[in-house]
């Protein structure tokens, strides 16, 4: 498979995985709240981790995408990942300071759940920016 085809194939896989993630999250929340609210902890744990299946697939597709990339695309990925890690890290640090100062309260679980989507969205935005730089 040539470079543009390999890229679009992998990106399609990531988009499908994202849709599957949304569906799995909705299903998991519905089951936990309405169907198995009083079920044993082990079953609740398994159901709560359902959304990880499509995420694991998306991670595999992203890794294959990076491996299929040429050196400039890899540099763009590296710049985007570094930007995303720093921006999300800084946001978490800021939230940590604000929560410590009791400006407002956030549950730890909420922060953890939003970490991966925040990283993904920031990475995509940073990638678009880096891509434009080399255009």
């Amino acid at each position: 498979m040539d470079l543009p085809n390999a890229r679009s194939h992998r990106l399609r896989g990531c988009a499908l995985a994202s849709l599957a993630y949304l569906a799995a999250t909705a299903l998991s929340v519905w089951l936990l709240k309405d169907v198995i609210a009083d079920a044993p902890t082990s079953l609740r744990a398994v159901v709560s981790l359902l959304p990880l299946v499509p995420i694991a697939y998306a991670i595999r597709e992203v890794l294959r995408l990076v491996r299929a990339n040429d050196e400039l695309q890899r540099r763009i990925d590296l710049e985007a990942l570094a930007t995303a890690a720093l921006v999300v890290g800084l946001a978490c640090l800021s939230l940590g300071f604000l929560v410590s100062a009791q400006v407002f309260e956030i549950k730890g679980g909420t922060v953890l759940v939003w970490m991966f989507p925040a990283l993904s969205i920031t990475y995509l935005l940073a990638r678009i920016r880096a891509q434009r730089h080399y255009r």
Partner: protein, 64 residues
Amino acid sequence: MNNRLRELRAAQQWSQAELAERLEVSRQTVNAIETGKYDPSLPLAFAIARLFGQPIEMIFDPDA
């Protein structure tokens, strides 16, 4: 770093996409090298030199 990639490609009457295919990189990479926004790695510079049958220093000028 300046280079003569655009000139050499034009001499062969290749499009950026054709050159990219021969070098197994993306068209964006060829464009970024031609416009001086990206300096290729040593293996890619060697591949370019081999493709055009010229020494690397005849294509890339690190002093410019």
